[in-house]
Symmetry: C2
């Protein structure tokens, strides 16, 4: 596709989503404005409204793309065909990567902002957690059936504990600017689900 794309220039809509996504993760839905994005991209606020009529539509698009990318990452983990403990480790790794440039998980941040979100964004946040928990539930059931891990309680309950545990570990580690704090909490969390201690995938701990 020989479009008019210049070196390093995605189209404006995608670059807008890049900046908006980062700002939501850093400052929350009520902590940034169209002016912030426009300044960073070097375009006018009016141009942003051409691509995303209102902040609600922008927010929906940001969540949609983020959730889609997250889902792709889960598919990729499945494709590699590892055992359940390694899958859980790879899952936690996605969260750790978010933290490396001091971001919060997008949907964890939006969970905090939940009461102030437009309805369409609320549904998307809930959907993100539901999808994650469904995938984790499958992995945990796989691991239980293969004997690779022993669950206390149901797989879906354990999945919920993993999601909320990782979100909380991000939430608290971020003010400290301390990735090791996240890693320690994540390792404990997975060890409470997995029988044997899993490799953590990161050498920073």
């Amino acid at each position: 596709m020989a479009t008019s794309r210049q070196p390093g220039n995605e189209d404006t809509a995608a670059r807008t989503l890049d900046v908006a996504e980062r700002l939501v993760q850093l400052r929350g839905y009520n902590g940034f404005s169209y002016a912030d994005i426009a300044a960073e991209l070097g375009i006018s606020k009016a141009s942003l409204h051409y691509h995303f009529p209102g902040k609600a539509e922008l927010g929906e698009a940001v969540i949609g793309r983020y959730a889609s990318r997250f889902a792709d990452a889960l598919v990729e983990i499945d494709r590699r065909g590892a055992e359940a403990p390694a899958k859980l480790d790879a899952y936690a790794r996605i969260y750790a990567d978010v933290l490396t440039d001091r971001r919060m998980c997008l949907c964890g941040m939006l969970a905090a902002d939940y009461d102030t979100l437009p309805e369409s964004m609320r549904r998307a946040v809930i959907g993100f957690f539901d999808d994650n928990e469904a995938w984790l539930t499958g992995v945990l059931e796989q691991g239980r059936d293969e004997g690779a891990l022993h669950l206390s309680g149901s797989a879906s309950e354990a999945a919920q504990a993993i999601v909320s545990g990782l979100e909380g570990a991000l939430l608290v580690a971020r003010p400290y600017g301390d990735v090791a704090r996240f890693q320690a909490a994540a390792r404990r969390l997975l060890e409470s689900v997995v029988g044997a201690a899993p490799r953590t995938g990161a050498s920073s701990g």
Copy 2:
């Protein structure tokens, strides 16, 4: 003290803190305004500025009172002189109570807003977590020494996992409006620290 206090009328500063605290817990630091508080109290914005010159000072006062009340609750748990597992259960109960009227923990919410907070508020948020983890570390060491629980890893690392685990459980349970979801995650979390299953203190299942 026969002040001019009418029935049900705390002084304005205290009532302002009540409303501001609830709004921060529900909507975040950037999700409410002086106008919101003034409308709810039936006074003018200017009157609020008399008691709290700026939003930063109001925010500091809100955290200060919250952290002080939280610290009092920990002292009260110690005063009852129970064993470590019961103390942990009582600690989790404080978090569960926050959720019952759909609030987030104040400092969990402010941890999400961290990048947008004035410096004095940032220090107070960190201090809140530090104090909680210090208290929990003491309880866990007590429990280990009494043989009431067996820790994997250090007491302070376990304390950090408990704080972040409970904060995350609140964060994720709140969009679902589901207290049981918090309770299940909290129970699993404490069971991963305490050897025997502790009583949860709540009958909600």
